[in-house]
């Protein structure tokens, strides 16, 4: 990392911007694999941003160079920690994506329960008025248990 008189190099600043922008774009996708890639890019962007916060310069060993020319070691230490954390979380998310593909044949993140209920009500043109305070449980046969997710791919050899 080189450094001009005024501040960090423009290249690094641009790199942060591009990484974060690409990461956010990918995060808006539905498939977990793309979200994962987005998180990796975003994480790297943030790590670079932290690195920009410290002063650049020579290796920070006592006696190796004048004190004013040394780089700031603290952001580098923080980035190391952050890299490890991002790595661990990425690995976990990868496992979740794989497991999700394994169980449902699909790694798409689906709408939540409420959304699906509202969509269903809208399709059948009903109003979601039912307050189940007064009537007995038999009056309302509708269940709110989550439905099984749809399966796109069926693997052979599994029933």
């Amino acid at each position: 990392m080189t450094r001009g008189a005024a501040g960090p190099t423009l290249v690094l600043v641009l790199a942060v911007g591009v990484l974060v922008a690409a990461g956010v774009t990918l995060l808006l996708e539905r498939s977990l694999t793309r979200i994962l890639l987005g998180i990796i890019l975003l994480g790297n962007g943030v790590n670079l941003l932290i690195l920009l916060g410290g002063r650049a310069g020579a290796a920070p060993f006592v006696g190796s160079s004048p004190q004013g020319e040394m780089s700031d070691a603290l952001p580098q230490a923080m980035v190391l920690t952050a890299v490890v954390i991002t790595f661990g979380l990425t690995a976990f998310l990868l496992a979740v994506a794989y497991r999700s593909w394994y169980t449902s044949g699909d790694d798409e993140v689906q709408d939540d329960l409420e959304d699906r209920q509202i969509v269903r009500l809208a399709e059948s043109n009903e109003v979601s008025t039912a307050d189940h305070g007064g009537e007995g449980p038999d009056d309302d046969p509708e269940q709110v248990d989550p439905e099984p997710a749809r399966r796109r791919l069926r693997r052979d050899g599994e029933t």
């Binding site: 998180i39 943030v46 932290i50 410290g54 998310l93 939540d112 189940h132 309302d140």
Partner: protein
């Protein structure tokens, strides 16, 4: 005495390592987890007494002096939080042990449950005790990583769907927090909170406001404050009952704690008080309206959780001693009560086969004890006198009235309305699930609940009632803590004895 401060973090971590090694011997594993959390409870109690009598207890990790090294600080607020959270985690652990004995299917990967649970506890206590912004981040990451494992426990399809939402949202908030940390360092050249208190004051107000809003955004997602709360009711209810209970009780409160800490120590002066009040009011009202519309007990409780976060944010926004004191009292009360209610929801599921209000009924006749266990914390949550929920809300509303002005007055109204609607939601559950003709969702449920599960829940209900009896001393502690927070000097002087700003 300062040697005790790292123990609430270190003991659970060591316990996690031990339980991981002993994964083949469940009995030993259980005793180690219980022993770890009990000792944390004792240490936390000692720390609170110490902090109350002599001021914040500080330890410099590794012997490095304060601005350079990392400090762990147990002031009254942190010690109180550690105490309550360790009491709650211990009860939930006992509950989950009871559940593990009662049934076989749910807790199959039990060997991974205990280590992860202990790591979660270590993360929570680390976040409470951190005296350094980056250490706070690390604490958050520890507890988040553990919570990811717990929320997808078993790896079923439903848990993965809801779990992946939770994981992505949490990682996003962590990245926001991390970039805020990076920018704070770039602006001030330090991350030690005591030193930041002085240096942030010297920054131009625009930069200061930007940093404050970034941190608030990150903590707001974690604390599930209204526009950022949509992830919570979707992801919590599907996890196993003890996991949901401990998440609901603790994880959002860690976010609230971080908001209290940053708003008082780092950014005093109430620059964003108006924003916080609007957000608090919306959180209360929108959250409770969501709860009223739910027909599943666990989802309903998740919405009340979101709603009542609003009370705490309201107290922080007032930023008077009375407001902060009320907010801290409310955090303590709400950690206990919300956890209890989720544990009761777990008991209902165990006894009736479902928590869906349309499929169950008449539980008060079938299981009278369960009825009592639900009724007391539900009324406590709704704020019926003489329970602590009433005292906490009263303290906050009084502080709001004392502050004067239009916005606090509106918030007092919103708080009262939320309290009434909580009562409506709670009594609706009572009417549907506990009165009427007995009806169970499943015929294969056990007639008797495991004693340890009922015992742990009873202990938490009793703790909730105890807050009423001990409300005087507890308010004494919270108002002392609030005074210290407002003054800032006790904290700063304890960490940096030499240069007080």
């Amino acid at each position: 005495m300062s040697g005790l401060v790292p123990l609430p973090v270190v003991v659970p971590l060591l316990g996690a390592a031990l339980t991981l090694l002993l994964s083949g011997r469940p009995r030993l594993q259980r005793s180690i987890s219980v022993l770890c959390l009990s000792s944390v409870l004792v240490v936390a109690a000692v720390l609170l007494v110490e902090a109350y009598r002599f001021g914040p207890v500080v330890v410099q990790v590794g012997g490095w002096p304060a601005p350079v090294g990392i400090v762990l600080v147990a002031d009254q607020l942190a010690a109180l939080m550690v105490l309550v959270s360790s009491a709650v985690t211990l009860c939930v652990l006992l509950y989950s042990i009871g559940q593990g004995r009662g049934e076989t299917g749910e807790t199959a990967p039990v060997s991974i449950y205990h280590p992860t649970y202990l790591v979660l506890t270590a993360g929570v206590t680390n976040a409470f005790l951190a005296g350094d912004l980056f250490n706070l981040f690390v604490g958050f990451e520890i507890l988040l990583a553990a919570s990811f494992v717990l929320i997808t426990l078993g790896g079923t399809e439903v848990r993965l769907r809801t779990g992946s939402t939770y994981v992505v949202v949490s990682i996003l908030s962590s990245l926001l927090f991390l970039s805020a940390v990076g920018l704070v360092y770039a602006a001030t050249g330090t991350l030690n909170m005591a030193q930041l208190a002085g240096r942030l004051d010297a920054l131009p107000s625009g930069v200061r406001l930007t940093l404050q809003l970034m941190l608030l955004l990150a903590f707001g997602i974690k604390a599930a404050v209204f526009p950022l709360s949509a992830w919570l009711p979707d992801s919590y209810p599907t996890a196993p009952a003890p996991v949901t209970a401990v998440f609901a009780g603790l994880l959002t409160k860690v976010g609230v704690y971080a908001i209290i800490r940053t708003e008082t120590l780092l950014f005093p002066g109430g620059q964003v008080a108006g924003l916080l009040m609007v957000v608090a009011g919306l959180t209360m009202v929108v959250g409770i309206l969501g709860a009223v519309a739910q027909s599943d007990l666990k989802r309903l409780l998740s919405f009340t959780l979101v709603s009542h976060i609003g009370y705490m944010i309201f107290g922080v926004a007032l930023s008077s001693v009375a407001g902060l004191s009320g907010a801290i009292f409310y955090v303590v009360h709400h950690i206990t009560i919300q956890t209890t209610l989720f544990l009761v929801a777990g008991l209902v599921e165990e006894r009736a086969g479902s928590t869906d209000l349309r499929r169950i009924g008449g539980l008060a006749r079938v299981a009278p004890m369960l009825g009592v266990l639900f009724f007391v914390p539900a009324m406590n949550l709704a704020g019926i006198p003489p329970f602590s929920g009433f005292l906490g809300k009263l303290g906050l509303l009084q502080a709001g009235v004392a502050a004067g002005g239009t916005l606090p007055a509106v918030l007092v109204g919103a708080g009262t309305l939320t309290s009434l609607l909580t009562l409506y939601a709670a009594s609706r559950v009572w009417n549907i699930a506990f009165w009427r003709a007995p009806r169970l969702a499943s015929t294969t449920v056990p007639a008797r609940l495991p004693g340890l599960m009922v015992g742990a829940t009873t202990a938490l209900v009793a703790l909730g009632v105890l807050f009423t009896l001990a409300a005087g001393p507890l308010f004494q502690v919270t108002s002392n803590a609030a005074t210290d927070l407002r003054e800032r000097t006790p904290y700063v002087r304890a960490v940096l004895p030499r240069d007080v700003p």
